[in-house]
Symmetry: C2
Subunit: 337 residues, 2 copies
């Protein structure tokens, strides 16, 4: 059993190490501005990895190992280098870390890049820290402790500056009654660029256009969302939903380290995250289970308040989940076995 | 004839008024966090306008009219309210202002919102200031004087803080030899959501998937860009290209006030902007003319250096323009007559 005081200690430690990692990345970018960029390619030239990725993961891993030697640790870089590809999360206290989410952005110096550090207990994201070191002069840090006495915050003025509680609007407004109309929708094109009728790229494109099209269009699938956003970072997509700066995140193909920290923030602000593919055999009125953290498919809906019709947040959120499912095709992302 | 000293005065005045406008918007957002949001709808619920739009345009207009009473002024809000819909830019010194670009984002508090203030001489964007008040604690300000003795800068530490020269990497790297492969591509879904085979929405969707698909895919149109980004602000798209934080902006449907300031920055950093539809009858080896500032269709390519094959920046940029044209369908945006 971890107490709220212990969680606060973990939270503050995590914020500190995220900021230190961000400082490393900012200095690294200043170096890169004057030196030719050396990168090596992973998957069909889209997924670039820089040395910074490895360095930052080691920085975070070593700090955690020294402070919490009894905790487990899952990092993107060490996972990718290892042979074991199954879902590794157990119920023991476990850190799930993406040293750099949005590496393509970082290569191009587009600021939607984040360090994502999540801490799970009983497989539930419980502390989450997301630091975007290039968003503003001091970077932007989102964090949360998922606990009745916890909290969620945004910090854009450095480690000593004031923090803004999340969600930004509190209590958060109800979802639009005709959602997804009126919603800000976040999704990514991803790395799988194969051209075939059943490819993920083709299906994602169909999903995006369905969500964008006027009501009644696309054979009734038109969702008329307020806007579609693609940032190139599923970590940032998730924190924007968690903060109430967006309404819907629909993303498949990413991994638990991309979303774990963001999910802790989302849960604390009253949001939900489910499988972006409707579970087989789920009855139309059955409660919708939470996403498998390692399932690679995530549909997140922001927190909200009871609406004028007296519908609870959960009722509104599950209705919106079904409206999104109805307008989207199932994506072919599974975990390697 | 405007001297460089006069342009510097105009630049500093513009930065100051942009920051003041941004402060107003930040305070306005803090108010909105606790009060129900009142908005009225313009075009099919996507284009929300808040009172802040009108207030900020008046703030900028009044400051300009007091300081430079002899200059002309074109603002989004006053244009929309007026009856004259033709292209208004003349050769006289003219301010072109969008008080808030990314109003949908602002309504949702997603930080890709910008105040865009451009100043034209002889119809050429000559001073440009773009301030994103919600990007970081002090906001992020991009600005330029397009002049041999001018410059371009990013400022993320407030009005007294240091400025970073643009482009961020200087000299900027050559374009990838197989561009658009390897490029970061920015484009927007826009407000026109009609569902038909020839609608702008359908064509934009086709363009996006063509740019994303693997080389050889989509009947040879696959562009295999490094990533597709949609921010919901053509102003921000343009400044990211101008800064070298992206490579290609392909956007149609926006207006001169959305891009004028960004174009001044783009030109100063060596970028080009052309019509996103290929001009009728343009020979395959003819020089490509600059976009009509009021033409509502913009294809921008970042600045670059001579490459290893000895190709000049302009040769690389025009080659990339033709590669993008080849992969995209003509969009149906014209100016009202």
């Amino acid at each position: 059993m971890t107490t709220i005081d212990e969680l606060r200690t973990i939270h503050d430690f995590t914020c500190d190490i995220a900021r230190k990692s961000g400082e490393y990345l900012r200095n690294d970018q200043i170096r890169r501005r004057s030196v030719a960029l050396g990168t090596r390619e992973k998957l069909n030239a889209v997924d670039l990895v820089t040395d910074a990725d490895t360095t930052v993961e080691k920085l975070i891993h070593d700090a955690v190992a020294q402070r919490f030697p009894e905790h487990d640790f899952i990092g993107e870089e060490s996972y990718s280098a290892g042979e074991e590809k199954r879902f590794l999360l157990k119920d023991s206290p476990t850190w799930i870390v993406d040293p750099i989410d949005g590496t393509v952005n970082m290569v191009h110096m587009f600021p939607m890049t984040a360090i994502s550090i999540g801490f799970c207990i009983n497989s539930i994201p419980t502390v989450g820290v997301v630091f975007a070191p290039f968003l503003g002069g001091q970077g932007t840090l989102y964090s949360a402790i998922y606990h009745p006495e916890g909290g969620a915050w945004m910090s854009e003025f450095g480690s000593d500056g004031p923090r803004t509680p999340l969600p930004l609007v509190s209590p958060p407004p109800p979802l639009p009654t005709d959602a997804p109309k009126g919603c800000l929708f976040f999704g990514e094109w991803g790395k799988d660029r194969r051209d075939s009728p059943q490819s993920n790229l083709t299906k994602k494109s169909t999903n995006f256009i369905n969500m964008a099209t006027e009501l009644g269009g696309r054979g009734g699938k038109g969702g008329m969302v307020h806007g579609l956003r693609s940032l190139g970072s599923s970590t940032m997509d998730m924190v924007y939903i968690a903060s109430g700066q967006g309404d819907i995140m629909f993303e498949a193909g990413c991994w638990e380290w991309d979303v774990c920290a963001g999910i802790a923030i989302l849960l604390q602000t009253g949001g939900i995250v489910v499988d972006s593919n409707p579970p087989d055999g789920l009855a139309p009125d059955a409660p919708i289970p939470m996403a498998n953290i390692g399932g690679r498919r995530y549909l997140a809906i922001r927190g909200c308040s009871t609406n004028e019709q007296g519908q609870s947040p959960r009722v509104q959120q599950e209705r919106l989940v079904r409206e999104v499912w109805r307008r989207t095709e199932r994506l072919n992302y599974e975990r390697p076995i």
